[in-house]
Each structure stands twice: as structure tokens, then as C-alpha cells.
């Protein structure tokens, strides 16, 4: 047979580098700056009291003045989020594997998992404080119950969407259920799992803050609560800003992880 000329038919890469990055980010940056300027102007023009709505400049001042406290609180909260997130992902994956591999157990577990998902988990925070005290444990517990579900669900969806004829191929060479699970279903589920992991990263931030609200002596959630009782609204906003930065950081960390784990997965562009 004549050799087929191998033609590179990979899709054209999107334009990369700084110019492309700035042009895609520029609208968002401009809008943000305009909002900050309008906010500052509105607070000054209408002389709004700083404990109702602090001006951006005042938030920045508070951020600098209280930097040591805030930095320490950020580290504590970041540690809780990271630890809680990792536990959630591991438990979420383990649960999905058990549900898929052991049919009977799966049929017992899955409805309960869905049922549990409908419990308002924020309401569990006081109970976790009661059980586990004021330390790290109740925060991890709360993050876990909030964040494991999207991981389990997305991995299950990924594992169950394997093409039937691929399974037929595997069966035709006598593949065992375990082989099909680890050589086909698990890798096939990774793109979907990574999507669930990104959701879990965001939920982990919420879990940590709620955990700290319910009872803590440190962390950004504690700072927010403490500052609001002192009517130090500028500090509340400064802490909120750092919570948002943490959220974004964890989200993008999950996205980088996704690119490393599933470089072959189809991507959609944000542009």
C-alpha cells in the first residue's frame, strides 16, 4: 500500500503571548477600574459613612494597616481550604469508584448521597463545632460535606459515558471489570472529573468561611465577623477582598491541574 502522507490536521492554536492576553483581559480590567473610580466618587460625593460603605481608598488603607493580621488569617484560611479541598477530592473520587465498581453497594449508596446533597450543609456547621471543637477538624468536615458531591457526580458521569462499542471491544478480548474500570472508565472520566474539581475548589472556599463563621479564633471568616462587630467595615471589605483572591487562586490552580492531567481533553475557549 502506498504510504499515506501524514498531514498535520491539528486545529490552529489560538494566538498566544502578551498581546493576545492583554486584548482578552482588557475589557474586564477597564470595567473594574471604572467601577472602583465610580465607587470612590459616589462615597465622597454623597459623603456616605465609612461603616456603611467604605471607599476603595479606605479599604486599601485598612488592608495596609492591618496587613500582618490579615496575612496570617489568609494563611490559616488557605490552609483549611487546601486541606479540605484535597480531602473532598479524594473522598469524592473514592465514592465514585466504589459506586461504579460494586454494583450492589452503588445502588445502596447513590440515593443516599443524593439525599444527603439536599441537606442544607451550612446548617451543619454548629453541629460540627459541637462534635469537633474549634480547631481545623470542623472546617475540614464542613468543606468535605459541601465539596465532595460535584467531584463524585462528575466522575460518575464521566465513567458512565463510555461508548458501548468500546466496552464491546474490551469484552471481546476478555477484559475484567477492574481492567475496564482503570484502563477505560477512569481515564475517560478525567475531563469531567476536572470540571467537578473546579466546582469543588470554589465550594471549598465557601466551606472554610462558613466554618470560621460558626466558630473560630482565627482565619479570614473570623476577621470578617470580628470586624463587623467592631463596625470596622473597611476591614470587613479588606478581608472579603482576600477571600476573593483565595477563591480565584484556587480556581486557577484547579484549572492548571486540569491542563496537566488531561492535556488531550477538548477545551472551550472563554473568548
Amino acid at each position: 500500500m502506498s504510504k499515506q502522507p501524514v498531514v498535520d490536521i491539528s486545529p490552529p492554536q489560538p494566538a498566544s503571548g502578551w498581546s493576545a492576553a492583554t486584548s482578552s483581559w482588557l475589557p474586564a480590567v477597564i470595567l473594574l477600574l471604572v467601577t472602583i473610580v465610580l465607587w470612590e466618587a459616589a462615597v465622597r460625593i454623597f459623603s456616605i459613612s465609612s461603616f456603611i460603605v467604605p471607599a476603595p481608598s479606605e479599604i486599601a488603607r485598612s488592608l495596609v494597616a492591618q496587613w500582618d493580621t490579615l496575612a496570617q488569617a489568609t494563611m490559616i484560611t488557605a490552609g483549611e481550604i487546601l486541606f479540605g479541598f484535597l480531602v473532598s477530592v479524594m473522598v469524592g473520587i473514592a465514592l465514585a469508584l466504589v459506586i461504579v465498581r460494586f454494583d450492589w453497594l452503588g445502588r445502596a449508596l447513590y440515593p443516599l448521597v443524593v439525599l444527603f446533597q439536599n441537606v442544607p450543609k451550612v446548617a451543619l456547621a454548629p453541629i460540627f463545632i459541637l462534635w469537633f471543637g474549634y480547631g481545623l477538624a470542623p472546617k475540614i468536615g464542613l468543606i468535605l460535606v459541601i465539596a465532595f458531591f460535584p467531584v463524585t457526580l462528575s466522575m460518575l458521569a464521566g465513567m458512565q459515558s463510555v461508548d458501548r462499542s468500546l466496552l464491546a471491544l474490551m469484552n471481546s478480548v476478555g477484559a475484567s471489570p477492574t481492567q475496564i474500570l482503570f484502563r477505560i472508565r477512569v481515564p475517560h472520566s478525567l475531563p469531567s472529573l476536572m470540571a467537578g474539581t473546579k466546582i469543588a475548589a470554589t465550594l471549598s472556599v465557601i466551606g472554610a468561611i462558613v466554618g470560621e463563621f460558626a466558630g473560630a479564633s482565627d482565619g479570614l471568616g473570623y476577621v470578617i465577623q470580628f470586624a463587623s462587630t467592631q463596625l470596622d467595615t473597611a476591614l470587613v471589605f479588606a478581608a472579603l477582598l482576600l477571600v476573593s483572591v483565595l477563591g480565584i487562586a484556587f480556581y486557577y490552580a484547579a484549572e492548571i491541574l486540569e491542563r496537566l492531567v488531561v492535556p488531550w481533553a477538548p477545551k472551550f475557549s472563554h473568548a
Binding site: K3, Q4, V7, I9, S172, V173, G174, A175, P187
Partner: protein, 280 residues
């Protein structure tokens, strides 16, 4: 075999030849239960000589894919028997005698072409080393004309190239039979013709027995030595047609008057196969 014969509808072959690699006798498949019971295949007799190239053609829903799955051991017939070189399809599959190719290449997107080509072999033969598997995969890619694309991932390959990898994956098992279910059905007409020609060359080089399910009249006549026409409701072999065109055949075979005559004849058979079959 060189003489064209038309078997009357429902007729059984007078005898099963000794050189038959595949033989199915009285195979019926019923699916569903109670009210939904449906007779998918009725009383199929089929014999495929070793080294032959046989096509199954018929209207949608005639059960030709189900018949292929029965031969592959993926669907158990409700009655009748199937033997592949004297073994049941299940035993034959365990002995790596069956290579399967479907309409969708079903490659693993996280593996490159060479690892995809050796993927089924790695499961069928756990004793093979990684490098031996790679070598076998590469050998098969060379055979299907994709030797240069060994390190490309499926998303870097065109539809035709992906299907070539799927064929390489089946051939890597060194099966006695290649069972193909509309393998080129999703490809454009030009690629489809090229793939058919490639398949003929692979067949002649490897001497595999091939059973091809297709709904293309031209493809069936161009490639196969014998075509079985399946009728609908229930699925059954209505007629068979020997293709006496000499091999090697290339694309120019379509210009031979005999080819045109066979196309017309097969088209007529297909038309009559659309009529639901009573007792015949």
C-alpha cells in the same frame, strides 16, 4: 466459487464445506421480553470460507449488526449454533481469533496511535512487555499505512486515519477473522473509497477472513467475494451473490460492465428484501 449462484430465499446450503472458518446454522435472535419480544434474526445459515471476504448488506434494522455481534460472541443467539474454526464465538474471542472494527474508531483520546493500536493486545496478552507491545503496534500501523503517525493523538488524526488505527488495533491481535460493522460508514465518499482499497490490500497481504457489514452496494461488490442480502422483519438472509470479478481489484473495477451488472442485480435483491418475509 467462481460461478455466480443465487440461493433461493430461506434455502439452506446443501452441506457445510470443510474449509469454512465460520459457520452459523439456524441462528435466531429474540430480544426483549413479553409484549416487547421481537424476532431480530430468524434462522440464519451462513458459512464463510477461510480467507474469504464476505459482506452482509441489507436495509436498516435488518439485524446485520446483530448477526455480526453473534459471530463475535457479544450476543448469544436464542437458538441455533455458531462455530468459528470449531469453537464457540466466546472461546474464539478468548483465543484472540476475532478482531472487531466498528463505525466509530473508539480510540482512547489519551493514548497516541501506537498505544491505541496495541491497546486490546495488551489486555488479551498480559505477558507482553511494553516494548514488545509498542513494536507490534508500530508494525500494524505500518501495515495500515500510518507508520509515520505513531505518536499522534486521536484528535490530531482525521476520521479516515482514526479508522486505520482501529483496523491496526484489531489486526494486532492477529485474529483469524476480522468482523467489521460499517467501518467506513462515517467517512466521506473519497476517503471511503481509499479505505476500501486499503482494506483489500491488507486482506490480500494478511490472508485474514473478513466479514463486512455495509449498506453500500458499491463497497460490497468492490471488496467482497460473496455478498449476503438480509431482509427485514424478521432479519434473515434472503439471497446471496457470488462476486466473480477477479482480484486484485482496484478502483477501476467499477468501470467493468460486469461490475455494473452486479450493482443492478444486487440493487434488485435489496429491493425485494424490503418486503417483510412470511414463510418462504
Amino acid at each position: 466459487m467462481q460461478v455466480e449462484t443465487i440461493r433461493p430465499a430461506g434455502g439452506r446450503p446443501a452441506h457445510i464445506r470443510h474449509d469454512d472458518l465460520i459457520s452459523a446454522q439456524g441462528v435466531s435472535v429474540v430480544m426483549g421480553a413479553d409484549q416487547n419480544r421481537q424476532l431480530i434474526l430468524r434462522d440464519i445459515d451462513l458459512s464463510v470460507p477461510k480467507g474469504s471476504f464476505v459482506s452482509l448488506i441489507g436495509p436498516s434494522g435488518c439485524g446485520k449488526s446483530t448477526l455480526l455481534k453473534v459471530l463475535a460472541g457479544l450476543v448469544r443467539p436464542s437458538s441455533g449454533s455458531v462455530s468459528i474454526a470449531g469453537l464457540s464465538p466466546g472461546e474464539a474471542a478468548r483465543k484472540r481469533m476475532i478482531g472487531l472494527v466498528f463505525q466509530d474508531a473508539n480510540l482512547l483520546p489519551w493514548k497516541n496511535a501506537v498505544d491505541n493500536a496495541s491497546m486490546l493486545l495488551s489486555i488479551a496478552d498480559r505477558s507482553m512487555s511494553r516494548s514488545a507491545l509498542r513494536a507490534r503496534g508500530q508494525e500494524m500501523l505500518d501495515l495500515v499505512g500510518l507508520g509515520d503517525a505513531a505518536h499522534k493523538r486521536p484528535n490530531e488524526l482525521s476520521g479516515g486515519m482514526r479508522q486505520r488505527v482501529a483496523i491496526a488495533r484489531a489486526l494486532a491481535l492477529d485474529p483469524a477473522v476480522l468482523l467489521m460493522d460499517e467501518p467506513f460508514g462515517a467517512l466521506d465518499a473519497i476517503t471511503r473509497d481509499q479505505m476500501g482499497q486499503s482494506l483489500l490490500e491488507i486482506w490480500q497481504r494478511t490472508g485474514k477472513t473478513i466479514v463486512l457489514v455495509t449498506h453500500s452496494i458499491d463497497e460490497a461488490i468492490h471488496l467482497s467475494r460473496q455478498v449476503h442480502v438480509l431482509g427485514i422483519n424478521p432479519g434473515r438472509i434472503t439471497q446471496s451473490l457470488d462476486i466473480s470479478l477477479p482480484y486484485p481489484r482496484d478502483a477501476s473495477v467499477a468501470e467493468v460492465p460486469e461490475f455494473v451488472r452486479l450493482v443492478l442485480q444486487l440493487r434488485g435483491m435489496l429491493r425485494s428484501s424490503h418486503q417483510p418475509g412470511g414463510v418462504s
